[in-house]
Symmetry: C2
Subunit: 137 residues, 2 copies
């Protein structure tokens, strides 16, 4: 029997549900410094990008690009950073981060940089805004 897909406990604790796309669950990372989505392909056992087959790999690329485009607009970002690292949480997940010149980590990467978590009102507002931005994907 195939292993059921489930979300790593650290991703659950560190992010908030936004939307289920065709392949990925989109979640808002709980960081006040950057509007930051994480895309988690709903495929059990995937760790590296090449663990996905060609069809899922294509779908992930399209969802990543579409989410990047919409996040950039929703956040008024200067640049989108995309990364799949997985050094700490092995479950395959793709970060899509809205960056602005001069933000907390600029021009360095956001990973490993400590940021405050989102205030409740901000979290609710961003989830609502991003859910609207991703409508139709």
């Amino acid at each position: 029997m195939a292993e059921a897909w489930g979300l790593d406990a650290r991703l659950v604790a560190d992010s908030h549900f936004v939307a289920d796309l065709a392949l990925c669950q989109a979640r808002l990372m709980d960081r006040a410094a950057w509007p930051w989505l994480v895309l988690v392909p709903r495929r059990a056992g995937a760790v590296e990008l090449f663990d996905l087959g060609d069809a899922d790999g294509t779908l992930l690329a399209r969802e990543t690009a579409a989410v990047a485009r919409r996040l950039k607009q929703a956040a008024g970002a200067d640049k989108i950073n995309v990364g799949a690292l997985g050094n700490i949480v092995a479950q395959l997940h793709v970060h899509v981060v809205a960056r602005r010149a001069g933000d907390l980590a600029w021009p360095g990467p956001v990973w490993g940089v400590t940021s405050a978590t989102l205030a409740d009102a901000d979290r609710t507002a961003w989830v609502t805004r991003l859910r609207a931005a991703l409508t139709g994907l």
Copy 2:
């Protein structure tokens, strides 16, 4: 007339030619701490992933996954890190980095971490090894 593709001067200075794939030029980053390839789509003007059309986006995803798989094997890596940041060099480029538990930046990201450059013999050896590893892509 369409703008001709060319490589950003900082990428030229910071990396060494390995191979031309169907879409991307694969280059070895000049860092002793990590076997590290960068894939540069040969498309003039592309900055964000979504600047590529669907066909090129699919091709980039396939080349990234295939290069990640072969780099992981060639380097005996524990994990591959993939990232498209572009905060400093705007030209669209995708990093594919071989990581080992306990390496210079582990488990943090490699971007922004200072590493020695490759000794001449190591550079030549890695270019040769990776060119062989990417054969047929």
